[in-house]
Structure formats: C-alpha cells, structure tokens
Amino acid sequence: MRAARCLPSRPPVRRAGPVAFTATVAAMLATLVSPVFGQTSANDETDTCLTCHADDGLTVTFADGTSHPLKVDASMFAGSVHGANLKCTDCHAGFAEIPHAERQFTTLADFRASFREACKTCHFDNYTQSLDGVHYAILSKGNTKAPFCPDCHGSHAIQKPGIPRAAVSKTCAQCHRTLSETWAKSVHGKSLLEGHNQDTPVCTDCHRAHNIADPRSTAWLLDTPALCGKCHTNKALMDKYGLSSNVLQTYLADFHGMSASLAKNGRPPVHGRITALCIDCHGIHDIRRVDDPGSPVLKANLVKTCRKCHSGAPEAFPAAWLSHYEPSWQKAPLEYAVKLFYKVFIPFIISGLALQILLHLWRVVGHR
C-alpha cells in the first residue's frame, strides 16, 4: 500500500514567521540563562506548540482516510507528572522544527507506534522489563492491538500510577473487562472497591506491571503459591483479618505443595498441571472468603473441588486433607501421634546404634 503524506488537514493559520522567530529568540535566551532559570525553556516551548495545538479544529489525516484531532489540553499536561519538567519535544522527538517535516503514516496505530520507544530515554528499567512482558510478546508476533506505555499510563495526562489503587483494575479493564468484573466480585475486589481497604491486591500486585508473565505458562503457574504467599505468609497482615499465616507452609508440606516445588525442575509436566496449586482449589480472580457459601473450599463444596482431579472421589474424601491445619491432638491426632513417635524413635534408635558402634570400637581398638 502506498503511504500517504501525513499533514495537518487544513493549512495552519498561524504557523508563519513571527511566532517561530519569537520561539527561537526565547530558546536562545533560555539557553543563556538556563543555569538559573532551567524551566523557562520547557514552558516557552510548550507555549510555542500550543499556538497551534490548542486549536480544536486541528486534525491530521492518515493514508487510510481516518483523521485524528491534534488538540492538546494544556492544563491537563501542566497537571501531569511531567508537566513541570518535560517539554513537548522530549517525547515528540523530531517535531521541534516548525513547520513539521512531512511524515508518512498509514494509520493512527502506525503513528502511535513511532512513539513506542519515547519513554525509554528516562524510564529505561520499566521499558526493558516490558520487553519480557506478555504484551510485548504478542506485539512482536504482529498483534498491533498489544498495549504499550501510553495505553495504560495515558499520554499527556499521566499521573502517578496506582493512585488510587482501584484505578489499576480500571486500566486493565479497558481490555480485560470480564476478568476485572470477576475480580470486583471476589473477596479481594470487594474489599478494595466497597471497603476501600488498601491492603488488598489489584491486578498488578499479582501479574506485575511491566514484565507481566503469560499466566498460562507452567513456570508462572508453579510460582503462584509463592505469589499468594507474599501476603498470606505476612503474619502482621494476616492477623489483621484473623487469617492464618501458615497456609503456604502447610501447603508445601503436603503432597500437592511438595510436587509443585519439585515440578519446576526437568521437563515440564506432560499432563498439563502436575498438581493442585492454591488457585485450583481457591479460584483465581473469583476467590471468595473460605466461609462464603459459594466458596469451593467450604466443607460442603470441597469434594466437588477434589473431584476436579480425583475423579470419582467418595463423599468423605476431603477427610484426607487437613485444611491447612498443623497436625495436633485436636486436629488429626493420628498424624500427630505418628509424627511424635518418630520424633522420639529415630533419635533413640540411631543414638543407640551409634553408641554400640563407639563402644565396639573403644573395646576392640583401644582396650582389647
């Protein structure tokens, strides 16, 4: 396809000499006084750009026939995190020259793509992390709908991310609507959205913001227990809600958890998931309180959850599972008794045998 010229759709009215001249003089002055008045040049350049870009009617037409407004809300940019210290051309590199050089873009997406690396100059760490992310992965496979920096952070009106925290799920909901709605009804979502509890996780707390892993990958799945454990092993935090901070430890000591720990090595499991992870019993975005009547781990519902893997498990099968309790005389006396027995028996037998060996050596070698 032949790329068309990308130019403002109508001849700019005020792009003539005097303004440009003033801007140049201002820029020269700014350079001279910049050690003292470093910010002046940014403000002056912004003013220069706004001479045209404050105009509602300013649009650009792309080769595919679509047009896009070029108006920038000056107060919005001034109020953004960058308002005080960036000037337009810091991001819009190559647009310092007025009038702008002609450029060829087929679509708005093409045009936006030309700014894909604009943030890299300052935010190199986050940019590099995003290269490991799932969004970049689908982009590199040719999906132009894959989001990059401004799709989540915005462009001219960028604010500090995650303030308020509920804003994060709204950002992700632009594309992941169903998941976001499910999360909003979960124990985590409700607590944040209805209870305004800032302890609860939003999307990025689990999925990360830039190096977002593919949640279907085995490596990610096998890491989920540690992920949940980030909060659920924090005693101070869990005590606040009357929750046990021992859940990860008891899971890992169980057959399922032990398998999950070891499954990270060697070949990935042949049959998809090798073992039950936190999310297999508790759910993912739809996690409920364990005493919620709809919770999949509530005693009445538990056998159905077990049957997801142990097909044909009898009604009483959950009795084989200790519900994250440490064995004690009250909970699981049999297991506790066996544990206690070996705690005494192993040292007893081994020390008895070691004693006999030492005595034998003492007699045979030293005192025959």
Binding site: L252, D254, F255, G257, M258, S259, S261, L262, A263, K264, N265, G266, R267, P268, P269, V270, H271, I274, H310, G312, A313, P314, A316, F317, P318, A319, A320, W321, L322, P327, A332, L334, E335, V338, K339, Y342, F345, I346, F348, I349, I350, S351, G352, L353, A354, L355, Q356, I357, L359, H360, L361, W362, R363, V364, V365, H367
Partner: protein, 290 residues
C-alpha cells in the same frame, strides 16, 4: 576340614543384591521428595528429567520391592511349614541376654564375648528391622500411590498419616543402613574393609570360630534332626513348633528391634553414671585428705 563354609545360598545372595539395588533406587528417588526445599533435591529431580519421571522410577522400584518382600515371606513361610529350616533368625531369649553380655563386654565388665549361633543378635536386629520396616513402607507407599483405593479401606486420616510414616520410616531406614549396616559390613575392625560373605556365599573358618562358634560346633558334630523333637524318623524340624514360631516371629522381631537400642542406652547411662560417681568420690577424697 575346609577353610571356608557355605553361609548363604544363591537365592539368599540374589535377594540381598536385589534389596541393595532397589533400596538405593528408592532412597535416591524418595529423599528428593522428602526434602523438597533443598537444592540437591531439585538437582536430583533434574537428573531424572522431572518429578513425574522420578516418581515413576520410585513407584516402579517400590512395586518390585513389594514383590520381592512378598516372595521372601512366602518362601520362608513355606520352608517353615514344611519343616525345612531351623528358622535361625527368630529372636530367642538367648539374643536378649547376648545383647547384654556383649555390651558388658564392650564396657569391660566381662572378659569374654558371648558365643553366637548362625546369626548374632545384631544380625537378627537388622533382619527384623528391615522386614518390619519394609512392610510398613509398602503399606504406606501403596496408600500414597492409590489414595482413592486406600480411602475405601481406611479412614481418611490414614492418608496424611501414611505420608508422615512413610517419610520418617524411610529416613530411619537410610540412617540405619548408613550408620549400622555400613559399619558392620565394611568399617568394623572385624571385617574391614569388606565382609564379602553375602556376595560369595562363603565365610572363613577363622571367622566362624570367632563369630559363630555355636554353629561351627553343630556343623562339626551334626546332631540328628530327631534330637530336636522329631521321633518318626523323617528328616525335618517339628512342624507345629515351627509354625507357631513363625506366627510369633513378627511380634518377637518388633520387640527385639525396640529392645536393642534401649539396652545400649541404658547400659551406657548406668556405666557412665557409675564412672561419674567414682570420679566425684575420688575428687572428694583428695580434697578431704589434703
């Protein structure tokens, strides 16, 4: 008279080889699962190509081990029922007294070691420890392998309890083999560097004199089988007595396994206590005299 005696039949030597191989395989594939958090476990899983393959090896070795144990018990039972064996591994009253005599000898309280028959009390301890431990490992292993089937036979709580028992009993078995068996078969000054009799099947006259004098005596002057109970002239051991011995053997074995370390600890504590008392008395005497 020959220099060596036949100590083990080829079947017994084969059984030992199989137990040795399977035990090693089970330990190598079992302990990474017990110590799932340590880095060498993860390395071992990688060597086997993943947890699924490691478990496949562990379970296959476990099933073979169970078959071997069943075969051994069946053969021994048959021999005892037919009256073809002396059942020389059954713990007797003499073993309990032998253990005490030996420990007193080690401590220097008596001058002569106890005289042993075909198997001394330490060998019986190891045999019964292995047999009883294996049975526990096989039952708990099968519970973990087939939790749904196990659930039909036992209450649900047996499944997590079986896991604890399997893992701890396995650790104990490994420690007993590493500490006790390796000492007695390799490191003990009596046999160093290698007691080869379980592989060659033969034992020297010298060792027979020292370690199994009662058996040597019996071989030198073979008593007729009739002398120990049979009157009908047929070759063999008394059947009823043998069957009853066999039935009681596991219980006796269990008692014996638990008794032995107890004796060791008790005797050492007693002797150590007496030594400390004597030392204290001597020190007191010295102080009063000066």
């Amino acid at each position: 008279m020959t220099d060596t005696f036949v100590r083990f039949t080829s079947r017994q030597r084969g059984e030992h080889l199989l137990v040795m191989t399977l035990f090693t395989m089970l330990a190598v594939t079992g302990f990474p699962q017990k110590f799932y958090a340590s880095s060498w476990s993860h390395g071992m899983v990688t060597v086997f190509g993943g947890i699924e393959r490691l478990r496949w090896v562990h379970r296959t070795a476990g099933i073979l081990f169970a078959l071997l144990t069943a075969w051994h018990i069946a053969l021994v039972t048959l021999e005892v029922v037919r009256g073809k064996t002396r059942a020389s591994l059954v713990p007797l009253k003499k073993d309990f007294t032998d253990a005490i005599v030996t420990l007193r000898y080690y401590l220097g309280l008596v001058d002569r070691q106890a005289a042993f028959d075909r198997f001394d009390y330490r060998q019986k301890f190891e045999y019964w420890g292995l047999l009883l431990g294996s049975m526990l490992m096989i039952v708990t292993g099968l519970i973990l392998y087939l939790p749904l089937l196990a659930f039909r036979l036992f209450p649900g709580e047996f499944i997590p309890a079986a896991k604890v028992a399997h893992s701890n009993e396995g650790l104990m078995a490994l420690l007993v083999v590493i500490i006790w068996h390796i000492y007695n078969a390799h490191l003990s000054p009596d046999v160093f560097p290698f007691d080869t009799s379980i592989f060659t099947g033969r034992i020297s006259l010298h060792r027979m004199r020292h370690e199994h004098p009662l058996e040597l005596e019996r071989i030198a002057q073979p008593e007729p089988y009739a002398a120990i109970g049979r009157t009908d002239g047929q070759q063999g051991y008394p059947r009823l007595q043998a069957v009853m011995t066999l039935a009681a053997a596991p219980l006796l074995g269990a008692l014996f396994v638990m008794f032995l370390p107890f004796v060791g600890v008790a005797l050492v504590l007693k002797q150590g206590g007496a030594y400390c008392l004597a030392l204290a008395r001597r020190l007191l005497d010295r102080q009063t005299s000066s």
